[in-house]
Symmetry: C2
Subunit: 448 residues, 2 copies
Amino acid sequence: MITPRTAAGTLELLPREQRVFQHMFDIIRRGYEKFGFNQIETPVFEMRDVLLTKSGGETEKQVYFVQSTGGIQQGHEADMALRFDLTVPLARYVAEHERDLAFPFRRYQMQRVYRGERAQRGRFREFYQCDIDVIGKDKLSPAYDAEIPAIIVQIFEELKVGDFTIHFSNRKILRGLLAGYGVEDEEKQKLILREIDKLDKIGADKVHEAMVSLGLTNIQAQQLLSLITSQGTKDEIVELLRVLDQKPNEVFAQGLAEVTQVVETLRAMGVPEKRTRLNLSIARGLDYYTGTVYETLLDAHPEFGSVCSGGRYDDLAGHYTKSNLPGVGISIGLTRLFDQLNANGLLPPAPATVQILVAQLDPALAPHYLALATELRSAGFTVEAYLEPSKLDKQIKYADKAGIPVVLLLGGDEQAKGTVVVKDMAQKTQSDVARGDLAATLRGILGA
Amino acid sequence: MITPRTAAGTLELLPREQRVFQHMFDIIRRGYEKFGFNQIETPVFEMRDVLLTKSGGETEKQVYFVQSTGGIQQGHEADMALRFDLTVPLARYVAEHERDLAFPFRRYQMQRVYRGERAQRGRFREFYQCDIDVIGKDKLSPAYDAEIPAIIVQIFEELKVGDFTIHFSNRKILRGLLAGYGVEDEEKQKLILREIDKLDKIGADKVHEAMVSLGLTNIQAQQLLSLITSQGTKDEIVELLRVLDQKPNEVFAQGLAEVTQVVETLRAMGVPEKRTRLNLSIARGLDYYTGTVYETLLDAHPEFGSVCSGGRYDDLAGHYTKSNLPGVGISIGLTRLFDQLNANGLLPPAPATVQILVAQLDPALAPHYLALATELRSAGFTVEAYLEPSKLDKQIKYADKAGIPVVLLLGGDEQAKGTVVVKDMAQKTQSDVARGDLAATLRGILGA
């Protein structure tokens, strides 16, 4: 006998939880589609050289390699590996199918990704990412940078996971400021941005220290820290940047112009002001981002960290094509979000998958139960017919355990009268309903 | 520069095809839910010993093993492998979560599975399976064997892939007949059933030959072949079996009783007669099945082979639990079906994902375009706003290439008049529509 168990670092759900997960998944999908994004799906594995364009990096340490029995027998090195995000597959997809795609290419992709993380609570080796990206050819207006948070706001409002704020900034602002302070070297700028990204975790003193060790003076470090921790409305922060007492600088000016356009476009799209915040301390650790960056926090649970992050990048697929493909995108880490909400008792309610159980009261009437179930399915309900001759008690318990909100009972008497007994599992009530009124009564109970 | 390419044996789709695939996927999912099935998802990999309960089998030759960078460096053997079907994960799931599940447990699962097939047209190394199963505890009424084809009939009718027939039989009938012929050995019975399963491929002569070499007399082989190729309605075939000139036999009698119940239950559920056929030559190659077996053929394309198969099994999870868990299930191989339909120009039509493009006619009016898009999304449309300042010509071409059926044009004149120009891409017509009539006009064009 083999002990049935799942691999460490995976999230497998019971049907009731799976229903909530799928409900959230569907809301995200519909939200992406509403804004005109097209779905793509890519294979779970990519060719090794395609996936690992930069070998020896941090990523490679976490990659899962895939090999067939035949390959192992022949002593070959694995030539495929599981994707570790959806961005590399997107880059490969766009480069491979470039001629068949319409640009700006708007795609959504909601699939699982794989990372050989150390096994610990909240770290997953298999998890869903729900990504959208808009990819331009040679250019892409900063207006798209505003559309992304507008989409996320709609989705998170519909998810009903409490108040949330999308914090955004533009890496060009900090890079321009650093250049103005005399830190012209791009690599050094990136290192400083990476320290700023840790502000929440390590605190202002440590960041100040790191900045100084990377070449800023004490005063500059202080000024910068004070600027990036400024509180205020988006307009106030934009104004603050506009009047900054510093030499004009091309990169800074560009960043400011882009941020201003994002603020204006968000307004034109009718995004509620409170849902987005211009937060200059948002830097994102990934060097990959070149302009706008986003992080999303649940207001009541900042300890969850960012539940939806992304940004603008200059060139998506430089490893695969000579075409210049700038883009902007964002990703919801649904598995992690679901797990955090679940652990804190914050999962949103989800509609029942199975609405109605037709019980088997009298085996002799079985054909009538089947006909009743068929009739109700045609009326749009999801219906299970209990096909096993079994005690009523056991059938009611089954409905309760399975979370089915309505049980229908039909005996000889009801059949003769043309009625059905409707049992409301939540209210623990039951009533005799004429067949002609059945659908309306059920809709009332189910709120459908 | 690395050549962007997908691994052999995978099916990656362009957005237009993906939309059709997803449309079919959604119909299947809704169909399963309508009949009260609960979704589950399992990790893509299972522990090696859990997945490969019978080592050295045919299956193991096709398994993909998964190993992390760390594991490879330490010279470990891979301890995980990709699932090759959804049945083994289901067995593991039910055994692992037995106490938390309500029985009969009705689950659907639609995920990808992996097999190291030889790379050739129509053979996939990664493909979707869309499974439903009902799992009983200790017992499961044969009425469930009738529900399965009833569900598949609804789904395939909605898929609009032409006429189809679900062929079904019961392995007990053939096994009972063989026992009556003196072939009592179960292993030998299974071997003969496996030959019968090949009837369509190798022809009656070869099957006859094989039967004789496995112990039947010439006459017996002839009788059996003549019986299993009998044409007739379900009732006629049942009648034929009832009056068979043979010693009564427990296994045969059970098979006949079960088949009879399936035929009656199908009728009670209102399944159209022509959609199912009692076909005694259906045996399924897998020894796994113990009673009812199903295969589904597209009437106009028998050369596709069975596009949806399954059956009844006595014990799902004997490797993992002492509980006796009989079940019945079926699987749609969606990737292969989609590929076959596509290759033959038979893909069903799918609704457009993006219904409306709001063009950017005049960059100065950009905020109005965004507001218009937001307004239409609230009215339930899927809307893309073109945010790039760009020639109208190029935007129209973009909509055409992306398959967007309606483009909206809003210039200064229209803005002043309170109208919008609606461009119907399919009809190649356009008209000036008052803002108040816009939603209704769009619904008319989109047939929504």
